[in-house]
């Protein structure tokens, strides 16, 4: 009698253990992190900063960061985004020091570090301008799945089409969220606050 009960208990615990491990396995493979992107966005940064020095991930000091790709001969979207980010950082107060903001030029032939430095002096000093060789920019843009292309205009001149999304990356360099053009300030600030707080 006692042996049978023990056997039944063992069988039952085996079933429970199997069930639990199955559930854990299911959650690990299916439940996981719902916001994790299917394709990884981001990659190692190795560019020239506006002060002329090389800038790599080490310069981020493990801080989360917001990164935006644009160019200085951009009449609407880029100055608007930079101006928005400036106001957002102001709103964040001391929390803003817990994150970095990068502006990467997709027009490196015309946006030299000096050009970027001068241009960005109109915005929050915590926004770092980055340029590089066309190949370096292309490599980073590919890692971030950023699209950009030259659009010819009159007299051999050109303007640019480019992805206008601000990418919010955590301290490990993984994408956590984005800010798009049409989002209002409270939404933007809430996202940046979350980024700064969660690292």
């Amino acid at each position: 009698m006692a042996g049978r009960t023990r056997l039944a208990l063992m069988a039952l615990s085996a079933v429970v253990a199997l069930g639990v491990s199955g559930m854990i396995g299911y959650h690990l493979t299916h439940g996981g992190a719902p916001s994790a992107p299917r394709y990884p966005v981001g990659g190692p940064i190795d560019l020239t900063a506006e002060d002329g020095r090389r800038f790599t991930n080490a310069d981020l000091g493990g801080k989360p960061f917001a990164v935006f790709f644009g160019f200085t001969r951009c009449p609407n979207v880029c100055p608007t985004t930079l101006s928005d980010l400036t106001l957002d950082l102001e709103q964040l107060g001391p929390l803003a020091d817990k994150l970095k903001v990068l502006f990467v030029s997709v027009d490196p032939e015309r946006d030299t570090p000096e050009t970027l430095k001068e241009y960005l002096s109109a915005f929050d000093p915590r926004i770092t301008g980055l340029s590089g060789t066309p190949a370096e920019i292309a490599s980073l843009a590919k890692a971030y799945r950023v699209f950009y292309e030259k659009v010819p205009t009159e007299g051999g001149d050109y303007t640019m089409n480019h992805t206008a999304t601000v990418y919010l990356m955590d301290g490990k360099g993984a994408l956590t969220s984005t800010i798009s053009l049409e989002e209002d300030q409270p939404t933007r600030v809430a996202k940046l606050k979350q980024l700064a707080e969660n690292g």
Binding site: C74, V77, T153, N161, L181
Partner: protein, 190 residues
């Protein structure tokens, strides 16, 4: 905030029940709005059947080579017209461009051969779409100043206009009065 606003509205309704009183309040509100308009903020030009509404631009960051020009063009006539060219003194040249955002990608396109202004129609140039692209800037656009320019229409001819320079990230102001966000509580839902 919302409940405070709506209770304030109920209180106002109790105070001003007669149509005369409501008209009176409306007139007073309009008067306040008109006083709030500063001379430079809302301005118009007219040539032939074409009316130009509030040309404006945005201050440029140091070293910027481009800026945007924004305005409305209304054709009161029975025949279509065409904006064929624009000049702005501070810019080497001005082109008509159209910006759009598709799947997060900002796309820029030059409108070639002029822009049609339909009869009895209005075309809006703003930072979110159609705009004048001011290129080869000879200097910065400074907030609070004006930049002089001209617009040439196929039929109506050439009109000289001044663009009011607003802040770097400024948005179009539907009320056309300065400080559009100065009274956030005044957005009425009716």
């Amino acid at each position: 905030m919302l409940s405070r606003l709506s209770s304030a509205r109920v209180a106002l309704r109790r105070l001003f029940v007669s149509p005369e009183e409501r008209i009176g309040i409306a007139v007073l509100a309009m008067a306040f709005l008109l006083v709030g308009v500063d001379a430079a903020a809302a301005h118009e030009y007219k040539i032939g059947a074409i009316e130009i509404g509030h040309p404006w631009s945005r201050a440029t960051p140091p070293g910027a080579k481009v800026a945007g020009g924004y305005l409305t063009v209304t054709n009161d006539g029975d025949t279509p017209d065409k904006l064929v060219s624009a000049t702005v003194e501070i810019a080497g040249r001005a082109e008509i461009h159209e910006m759009s955002v598709e799947d997060g990608v900002m796309k820029m396109r030059q409108v070639e051969g002029g822009l049609d202004i339909p009869a009895h129609g209005t075309v809006t140039f703003d930072p979110n779409g159609l705009h004048l692209m001011l290129l080869d800037l000879k200097g910065p656009l400074v907030r609070g100043t004006n930049v002089h320019g001209s617009l040439t229409f196929e039929k109506a001819g050439t009109v000289e206009v001044d663009y009011v320079v607003d802040a770097i990230g400024a948005n179009p102001k539907p009320m056309k009065h300065d400080g559009g966000d100065a009274m956030p509580g005044m957005k009425m839902d009716h």
